[in-house]
């Protein structure tokens, strides 16, 4: 028996870590989707993206200050937050910079490197709209500035409509407390919105009439178009899908035979309604089976039975969401956005299966 469980010593899959600078705590680690099943990302394998490291916070001393355009500015302890009625929801979380290199042609060799800044979790917390009834929002409050207690005090401005729609204050991750890397003891969760807005180590909410124009919502997480103008406040993650098995770096037994093609699809606009798979480079498409239940704003697992003829093949998936949005090809995306917008890249990702069974990126 073990007081806190560990996986089998034979299981070794792990996140890949990429620091962006020589200073630790500025990079990311990516979820190994090629090795995972189902829809829930184990907490130990949830992707990370930090801008100023991971603070070690004692929950007994952590406070959330709510102020600005409110009638009654308030300080909540973690005990206070947990007194509110709780609920749990399964939502995906995806970094706005997931697959950022794919657009400009820097395609990654495996799905962990190309799509690993995506995870899906059962989160537990409280409705932010409910908590805000305690402070009394003034009608002029149109934005909420959310600030973390990380070293850099990372902050983002959030439109009030989203705050009152489905924003959560989260303290639970897959049935236990948040991991430190996911914002322990408290984070903001904005279902379907780019990861960076889901501020971790949340310690301050300021209600204002206008956005702060913080560094992370102007200099970063904005999308530079072909005309030199950049789109700002592009919050929603649009629909996308990817085959996780077989995928880059894996190897099939040569000679053909049955293989299950499986992967993930998700959209920040609600439910995935359809996933199609092509095994001939995108000429013919056939419907994959979606694992039920398909949850709104969570990843959907799809599966497609494939009798491989043993010849070279290009396999890929594309998804449609409940708004009718169809996942574009790389060429369709760059025709509109050019090569430099980077964030929110959501095009189809093809994998090349060679006759020897090796799988590589195209």
């Amino acid at each position: 028996m073990r007081a806190y469980g560990e996986r089998s010593p034979y299981e070794t899959t792990e996140r890949v870590i990429r620091e962006l600078t020589a200073s630790p705590g500025t990079g990311s680690s990516r979820t190994p989707h090629q090795d995972l099943f189902g829809t829930i990302t184990p907490s130990a394998l949830h992707f990370e993206r930090h801008h100023s490291g991971v603070p070690g916070i004692d929950p007994a001393t952590h406070e959330l200050l709510i102020h600005g355009l409110v009638d009654r500015p308030l300080v909540l302890t973690m005990d206070d937050v947990r007194r509110f009625p709780s609920f749990s929801r399964t939502y995906f979380l995806e970094c706005g910079g997931n697959s950022i290199g794919e657009q400009s042609g820097n395609t990654q060799p495996d799905v962990q490197k190309s799509h690993g800044l995506l995870s899906c979790t059962e989160w537990t917390g409280v409705s932010l709209a409910l908590v805000l009834r305690e402070v009394g929002l003034k009608p002029e409050a149109k934005w909420m500035i959310a600030e973390g207690a990380d070293a850099g005090r990372m902050a983002r401005s959030i439109p009030i409509e989203k705050v009152l729609d489905d924003a959560l204050l989260v303290y639970g991750q897959n049935g236990e407390a948040l991991r430190p890397e996911q914002g322990y003891p408290l984070r903001l969760l904005l279902p379907g919105w780019e990861g960076n807005t889901n501020v971790k180590w949340l310690h301050r909410l300021q209600f204002t009439a206008e956005p702060a124009m913080s560094a992370k919502e102007t200099a970063y997480y904005t999308e530079l178009g072909k005309d030199g103008k950049a789109q700002i406040f592009t919050f929603v993650m649009e629909a996308r899908s990817v085959i996780t098995r077989p995928s880059g770096g894996q190897r099939l037994a040569p000679g053909g035979g049955f293989h299950e093609i499986t992967g993930l699809a998700w959209t920040g606009k609600g439910k995935i309604t359809r996933v199609e798979v092509s095994v001939d480079g995108g000429k013919a498409w056939a419907d994959a089976v979606l694992q039920e239940p398909v949850l709104s704003l969570a990843v959907a697992r799809f599966r497609f039975p494939w009798m491989w003829d043993g010849k070279p093949a290009v396999i890929q998936s594309r998804c449609t969401d409940e708004t009718g949005f169809l996942q574009p090809t790389h060429d369709e995306l760059i025709a509109v956005r050019g090569l430099n917008s980077g964030y929110h890249y959501n095009a189809i990702k093809p994998w090349q299966v060679s006759a020897d069974g090796s799988v590589t990126h195209v």
Binding site: S23, H67, L74, E134, R153, M213, T218
Partner: protein, 177 residues
């Protein structure tokens, strides 16, 4: 009255109270002032203080250059450049820096104030933040070496890419089946 009746009356009274859970405590004006570090594009939130590029150069050399290099050119594949790229945003390889991309000088002040230096954030005085901001803007040719930046003049600085941002255009990509 029997005990159960008393309990019932007490329960009904508690139930009937309109008050919310009553979680938390009121925030004092002092602690709000202490924790609120947000600076807005119109200058709201800026503390009193002042500095010039000349004063900022000394602070920059001792606390910023180790990462961002002597003239704000950054260090390749590591720390971002703070200088250059003005006019390059529509080019094939745009260079996004404080000078070429950031739309507001107040954002530069706010970011230095809250996040820099990376290993000792929030250790600079307000005057030092004004001075370093002035130096970085001067390196980009945006303010003169002698110009004093303070809580009134900083929001008046017009950044080259001030009008370079447009709202979310999506769904912009229409895929064909």
């Amino acid at each position: 009255m029997c005990r159960s009746m008393l309990w019932l009356v007490a329960a009904c009274v508690a139930w009937a109270q309109p008050k919310p859970p009553g979680a938390g405590r009121p925030a004092t004006a002092e602690e709000i002032k202490d924790r609120d570090i947000t600076v807005f594009p119109d200058g709201r939130g800026l503390p009193a203080g002042k500095g010039t590029a000349g004063q900022g150069e000394k602070v920059y050399k001792s606390k910023c250059a180790v990462c961002h290099n002597d003239k704000g050119e950054g260090r390749e594949r590591q720390y971002p450049a703070l200088v250059g790229g003005i006019g390059s945003l529509a080019a094939q390889r745009p260079v996004k820096t404080v000078g070429s991309y950031w739309p507001y000088a107040t954002t530069v002040w706010d970011y230095i104030n809250r996040s820099m230096p990376f290993d000792h954030p929030r250790t600079l005085s307000a005057d030092e933040v004004y001075a370093v901001t002035a130096f970085v803007l001067h390196l980009n040719g945006i303010v003169d070496a002698a110009r004093e930046l303070n809580e009134r003049t900083l929001p008046q600085v017009l950044m080259p890419n001030r009008n370079g941002f447009v709202p979310d255009q999506r769904p912009d990509v229409k895929a064909k089946r």
